[in-house]
Assembly symmetry: C2
Homo-oligomer: 542 residues x 2
C-alpha cells in the first residue's frame, strides 16, 4: 500500500502502535505476576507476517475493474499484508488470533478519497452482494472490524483514512468540520494552527479517526470537562447504500427527533460517516494536576459523585480501586505502606487560567470535605505522561504468557458498588472455574451527574485456548452487567462481541427500531454485518 493512499496508521501488524516503542515487561511486574497469577507458560512465538496463510480473495475481475473505476487502481489492495492489516481490531482476542498462521481477512481493502467515492462504492457493493466493513484507525476492541461476510459473496474493508482534513473552521462558533477519516492527532494538529483543540483523548487517540469516535460513541479521558464524543458532534454527512443523509447544524433544536443520534453508535451498520462538524475550544492556557487519596473506594466514589453532581468543573477525574492503586504504585516503584493503602484519584483542570484555578480550588474543597487528601501534582502528572502507554504493556504481558484484557460498563451511582462487586466476582469465578488465577483492577473512568463508568483491567493465567476460555468468562461478565443495571458498554461499543447481549439491554423494541432503520438505508444488509445486530438466521453464513 502506498503512503499516498494510506495515511499514518498502527505500524505493528500484530500488536499495538509503533514497534519501536514496544517494551519488555518490567522486572517488578514480572515478580508481581508470579505472586498473583502464578507461573505462566511462555507461549509459542507468534507467526511471522510472511507465514500467515489467507484464503484467496474471491473478488472477481469485474468487481476489481468496477471498483477501480470509482476509487482508482492504486486504492484497491489485495496483497496479503494489506488484507491482514485490515482483518480485525485490537482486542486481546484479536491479538491472540494474529499469532496464528491461518487468518480470516477481507477479500480486498478499498481506500476511497472522498464522500462521492464512498457513496459509489457502497452502491456497487449493495448491487453486487459484497459486505462492507468500514475501517478507520483499526482500534476497535469489540470485534467491530472482523471481516464478516455473513451470507454475502465477498467482504471489503473500506479504509477511510484518505478522507482526512479540516473542511471548515468557524472561530466565532467554536466549530470545525472535518473529513471523517482524520485521525485524532491530525485533527489536533489542524486545530492548533487556529489556537483551538478538540480535546478528545481516548486510549485509541493516536490512531483512531473522528468518524470512528462518532460511530463507536467514544468517550475520552477528558470527558468530565469536554464531554463524550457524541456530545461534541454538531453535524454529520453520511453515505449509505441508498443515498446520502445530511443532519445537524443548530446548537439546540426541536425540529423533530435528533436523527444524528441514529448514526452515533451505529458502528457502520447503517452507512459511513464521511464528514462531521464538532464543537471545539481554545487551546488551554493552563493545565493543573492534582492527585488525591481516599481511605477506600466507597469514600472516593462518594467524593467523585459530589463533584459530578455539583459540577465543580474538572477536565479529568478518575478514581482507582484499592487493587489498581496498589499496582499503579508498584509500576512506579513506590510501594510504600502509607501510599499503597486506600484508593488514589487523579484530577486535571484545563482552560482559562483564572477559571481553572477556581475550579481546582472548588473541587479540592469538595474532595476534602468528603474524606480525600491531596497528594499533590506529581502522581497526576505521571498518570498523564503514561496514559497512552497501557496497550504496550498488554503486548509485553501477552509475550510473557499472561492474558490481559479490559472491559467497561456504566450505571447510576446507587448501583456502582454492587455492579463492581458483581463484575469482579464474575471475572474471578470465571478464571477459578478454569482453575486459573486472576488479578482484577478497576477504576471509575468517567463521571456524570447520575452515574459513572467502571473500567476493569484483567490479568490472568489462562491455560489452553485463551480466546475460548476468555469468551466463557466474558459471558459471565456480560450476564452480570445486565443483571446489575449496567450497560453492555460505556464507550468500547457493541461490535460483534457484545451483539448477543444488546437485545437484553434495549429490548425487542429497540432491536426492531434498529432493524427498521437498517432495512431502510441498507436493504441488502451489506453494511458491517454481524456488528451491533447479530446476523439473523436468514443471513447467517451457510
Amino acid at each position: 500500500m502506498t503512503t499516498e493512499t494510506t495515511p499514518a496508521a498502527i505500524t505493528r501488524w500484530d500488536g499495538w502502535g509503533d514497534p519501536t516503542l514496544a517494551r519488555d515487561l518490567p522486572l517488578a511486574v514480572r515478580a508481581l505476576l508470579r505472586t498473583v497469577i502464578g507461573r505462566v507458560r511462555r507461549p509459542k512465538p507468534a507467526a511471522a507476517l510472511s507465514d500467515v496463510v489467507l484464503d484467496p480473495s474471491v473478488l472477481s475481475v469485474e468487481d476489481h475493474t468496477s471498483l477501480a473505476a470509482i476509487v482508482g487502481e492504486d486504492a484497491i489492495h489485495t496483497d496479503a499484508e494489506s488484507r491482514i492489516r485490515h482483518s480485525g481490531g485490537r482486542s486481546t482476542p484479536d491479538l491472540l488470533r494474529l499469532r496464528e498462521t491461518r487468518q480470516d481477512a477481507p477479500d480486498a481493502v478499498v481506500a476511497p478519497s472522498g464522500h462521492d467515492e464512498v457513496l459509489a462504492v457502497l452502491g456497487y457493493a449493495s448491487a453486487h452482494d459484497i459486505a462492507i466493513v468500514p475501517f478507520g484507525g483499526g482500534t476497535s476492541v469489540v470485534g467491530a472490524l472482523s471481516p464478516e461476510r455473513a451470507d454475502h459473496r465477498a467482504v471489503i474493508a473500506l479504509d477511510l483514512r484518505r478522507l482526512s482534513g479540516l473542511l471548515h473552521f468557524d472561530e466565532v462558533s467554536a466549530e470545525a468540520r472535518f473529513l471523517a477519516g482524520t485521525t485524532g492527532p491530525e485533527a489536533e494538529r489542524l486545530l492548533s494552527a487556529h489556537g483551538f483543540e478538540l480535546g478528545h483523548y481516548p486510549q485509541s487517540f493516536l490512531y483512531a479517526t473522528l468518524g470512528g469516535f462518532a460511530s463507536a460513541r467514544s468517550a475520552g479521558q477528558n470527558s468530565a470537562g469536554n464531554g463524550r464524543f457524541d456530545t461534541m458532534v454538531t453535524a454529520l454527512r453520511i453515505a449509505t447504500p441508498t443515498g446520502e443523509v445530511v443532519l445537524g447544524g443548530a446548537p439546540g433544536s426541536a425540529a423533530g427527533p435528533d436523527l444524528m443520534r441514529l448514526f452515533l453508535g451505529a458502528e457502520g451498520i447503517l452507512g459511513v460517516i464521511t464528514e462531521l462538524s464538532v464543537r471545539v475550544h481554545r487551546l488551554p492556557e493552563t493545565h493543573r494536576y492534582e492527585a488525591w487519596t481516599f481511605p477506600d473506594f466507597a469514600t472516593g466514589t462518594a467524593a467523585l459523585r459530589r463533584v459530578a453532581q455539583l459540577g465543580t468543573g474538572p477536565t479529568v477525574i478518575r478514581l482507582s480501586d484499592e487493587a489498581e492503586t496498589g499496582i499503579g504504585l508498584a509500576q512506579h516503584g513506590r510501594v510504600g505502606k502509607a501510599l499503597a493503602k486506600g484508593c488514589s484519584a487523579v484530577t486535571v483542570f484545563e482552560g482559562d487560567a483564572a477559571l481553572t484555578a477556581e475550579r481546582q480550588a472548588t473541587t479540592a474543597r469538595v474532595l476534602t470535605d468528603v474524606g480525600g487528601r491531596s497528594t499533590g501534582p506529581v502522581p497526576a502528572e505521571e498518570w498523564a505522561d503514561g496514559r497512552f502507554g497501557a496497550p504496550y504493556l498488554r503486548d509485553a504481558l501477552l509475550d510473557y504468557g499472561a492474558f490481559c484484557e479490559t472491559l467497561e460498563t456504566a450505571t447510576v451511582w446507587a448501583k456502582i458498588e454492587p455492579l463492581k462487586a458483581a463484575v469482579t466476582d464474575a471475572i474471578r469465578s470465571g478464571f477459578t472455574a478454569q482453575d486459573s488465577k486472576s488479578l482484577v483492577l478497576c477504576h471509575i473512568s468517567h463521571v456524570y451527574p447520575t452515574g459513572a463508568a467502571l473500567y476493569f483491567t484483567i490479568i490472568g493465567n489462562l491455560r489452553a485456548d485463551a480466546v475460548e476460555e476468555w469468551n466463557l468468562i466474558k459471558t459471565r461478565v456480560n450476564d452480570a452487567i445486565l443483571a446489575h443495571g449496567g450497560t453492555i458498554s460505556h464507550h468500547h461499543g457493541v461490535g460483534r462481541d457484545h451483539a448477543p447481549w444488546l437485545a437484553r439491554e434495549i429490548g425487542e423494541g429497540g432491536i426492531r427500531l434498529l432493524r427498521a432503520v437498517k432495512a431502510e438505508l441498507d436493504p441488502s444488509g451489506i453494511m458491517n454485518p454481524g456488528a451491533v445486530l447479530p446476523v439473523t438466521a436468514a443471513r447467517q453464513k451457510s
Copy 2:
C-alpha cells in the same frame, strides 16, 4: 369531566391559564401600541362556550363500549366542552380560531390511567382506524394538538394527565422516575418533598406535562444551568400501537445508538411516552440575580457567547435586543433616557451557596470585560417574578384587537446577527405587504458553546383574516430561517405548523428515517397524523 379523571389544567377554555388572572391591557401599553402599530379595530366579542357548534362525534357505540372496557366509562368524554377543550393548543391561531362559533374537535377525549391502558387504547385504535392525538397540558404553540384525522375514521384526544405521580426517587443517583402525565408544578411538588427539583421552567411550565416536555424537546428558562429537557431524560417507557419500547438507564453508553432520541421530539407520532426518568438536583440553597446592560446587541451577544464558551455557570442568561429592552422598560413604567438605550440582559445563579457566588463573580468579570455594565439585582428579579405572565398579556392584546405571537429558532454564533436581521425583515416586510404595521422584539433565550436561540415576539395590526395573513407572514419567516442556517424550531417543536418545512432542514434522508421508524411502530399511521411529517397524498383526508 370529573376532577378524578382529569387533573388540574388550563381553566380558561379560549385563552391562557386561570381566567381570574386575566388582566386588561395596561394604559402605557395601549398608548405605545397606537404609536407603533396605529389604530386597531376592536374585534367582535369571542363566541361563548355554549355557542360553539361541533360536528357530532363519529365514534360508534362499539368503539365506545370497547374503549370503556379498557379505561372505564368515566374516562371517555364526548360532551362538547371536553371536546372543545381538546381541540388544539395555545398558539395565537389556535386562540383566534377559538373565537369562532364553528370548531373542529376530536370525536372523543379518552383519559387512560396507566401504561397498560394506553397500550390497549392504541392497539384498539390501530385495529379500528381511529387517529390518536396524545394530549398533555395542551400548551402546544405549533399545532401539534389539532384534531387531525387524516384518512382515518375518527380521531381521539388521548388525555394523559391521569398518568401522574412519582414512581421512584433515587437520592444517591439524583434521578427520579415519573408517570409522563405529571405536570411541571406537580413534579416539583413531589420532588421538593425529597429536597430536590427538576428545574425545567418553560413558559408552559404551569400546565405542561413531563411527557409533553420530552415529546416536544422543550427548553426551559434555566437551560444554561440545567440543560434542555432532552438532556435531562435518562430513561423512557413508550406505548406504541405495536407494543412497548423501554429504553435508557445508564448515564453514558455505547450500546448502539441512543434510541431514546427517536422519541424525544417525536411529538406523539411514534407512540406515547408513559413513564420517564429524569436527572434532578438538590433544591438550590441560593438564588442570585443580576441584570446587565450592553451598548448594543452585538456587544451583548459577544458577551453571552464568551460566557457560554467558557462555561462560567449561570443558571439563566438572556439578552434582549434594543426594541425588547425599550418595551420591557416601558411596561415597568421606567422609560428613562439612560436606561432605555442599549440592550438589557438577565443572569440568575442557583445552587450551592459557595459555588453560586463564584459563578456569579466569574460571569460578572467576563460580561464586564466584553463591555457590559451591571444594573444590579432588581431588573433580574422583576423578570423572574413576571416570567409566566406573558401569555396573559397576549390575551389582553387579542381582546384589544392587536395581533401578538412568538416564534423562535437557533443557529451557530457566527450566524446569529444575519439570522436575526433576516427574520426581522421577513416579519416586517410580511406585515408591510399587507399594509399593516408591526413591532418585532427579540431576545437570546438559550445559549450553547456553539450557538444560541433567538426568540421573537411580534405585535402587529392585521386587517382581515388574521390567521390567513399570519400564515403568509410565517411562510416568509420560515423560508428566511432555513435560508440563513437556522433551525425551524429551537424548542416549540414542529407540530403541523412547521411540518412543511422539516424536509428542508433534515433532508429527504431524514424524512425517510422518520417514515421508516413510524412505519415500524405505527403501521396504520394513527399516531398524531400530520404532526412532524406532513400527511402524504395517499393519507390525506379526502
